[in-house]
Symmetry: C2
Subunit: 212 residues, 2 copies
DNA sequence: ATCCGCCTCCCCCGCGCGGGGGAGGCAAAT
DNA sequence: ATTTGCCTCCCCCGCGCGGGGGAGGCGGAT
């Protein structure tokens, strides 16, 4: 293995490619081995050049970054992928990371940070832009607050309502009457404004009241 | 506001505290304003000193990092929290980020990276250790694969089954007979080995077949 | 001392749903 | 040409469930 990081750049704008290449070539340990103007030729180039990492724009004509990433993951899973997009955090990020994309940065990134990011990803780490990370964390945390108008007992019943158990079975589990369970269930459905158990369970998961 | 970042360190091992403090004091823009040997005194110190950020070990006697973080979040939500643990990624991370902890690093982090992390968190960004990020990404991606033995039509019906609509309503929406919908539903439940619509919907979400 | 929220339990009704059958058409695979 | 999978549609039955009532006890708040 070589000690330098071999990079392939994909972007439909020549200026961006040249700009990135210029910045990256300043780094002694970096080696820009190729450029491509879209995902199709980029994919071929990647297979031919076998770079350590590809720096790819998300929006490109013919074959975009997402398609390219998925295809490259299949054919050459060892090539790291660093996705590059505009200043907005695209929701496709999550599909991308799910597909195995290691890096995701916005184009407004500082050159120094980009260098660090590339180095991190090339070393097998994951690098997500802070904004993306924040959004990811937001997704992980339950969208708290909306309504904890349920009593402790009702919360307990609600959890059971998300299971296959019938009210009768729930009742025996809790050692109370089935009628009591049904009574709680009625109140829960009314409070949550849901028409049935199924919707209440889905709603509860959405609100993070119960775990999946 | 001052231009330096005021830091409070919490760790039950004096050596770790001193070591961290020494490393951080090398940074001109950092100011270590205090140390605490557990969460209880750390919490008091935080309220008294009002630092920009607290660097806190997860495992501590009396009041551990998690309790401290939750309490501090309530009393002083503007103080950033950087959690510090051993070399293993603890599953409690997810509860912590859900609770609002901005940073999470492992103790094997390089000093330079820790400095960057603290700076990032102090500036309002999120910083998760690459390993944690990777694990978080793993959690986000649907645990694909198990079984997409459902036909396209069944997938469509399944999505409708996760809504409040009755079979009759679904049927009219899809312009087919209610019996057809019920027939599909029967096959779906059998294929998914689920006893009812509710469980099938929950299962579908777990498997990432449908979106929340 | 009164009120109110919570938990408990009971009754009745209608219907949506799960589970068991069966059947015909149509396209792709073989 | 036969098979196989998919989509379509139909029947019957039993029961779990949603929705409408009501009632009593118990603890905390005032």
């Amino acid at each position: 293995m070589s000690d330098s990081i071999r990079i392939l750049i994909m972007d439909d704008h020549a200026v961006v490619r040249k700009g990135l290449a210029m910045v990256l070539r300043l780094e002694p340990s970096f080696e820009v081995v190729g450029e491509a103007e879209n995902g199709r030729v980029g994919l071929e180039a990647a297979k031919r050049l076998n770079p350590d990492i590809v720096l790819v724009d998300l929006v490109m004509p013919e074959v975009d970054g997402q398609e390219m990433a998925l295809a490259l993951r299949k054919s050459n899973p060892n090539i790291k992928i660093m996705m590059l997009t505009g200043t907005e955090v695209d929701d496709r990020v999550f599909d991308l990371v799910a597909a195995g994309v290691e890096g995701y940065v916005l184009k407004n990134i500082e050159p120094g940070e980009l260098v660090r990011a590339i180095r991190a990803v090339a070393h097998g780490e994951a690098y997500l832009h802070p904004d993306v990370m924040r959004k990811a964390v937001e997704r992980m945390k339950p969208q708290h607050a909306p309504a904890v108008l349920l009593t402790p007992r009702e919360m307990e019943i609600l959890e059971w309502m998300a299971t296959p158990n019938t009210y009768k079975q729930i009742a025996s589990q809790l050692s109370i009457s089935e009628e009591t369970v049904r009574s709680h269930a009625k109140n829960i459905l009314e409070k949550m404004k849901q028409p049935n158990r199924a919707q209440a369970a889905l709603m509860a998961i959405k609100m993070g009241l119960i775990k999946l």
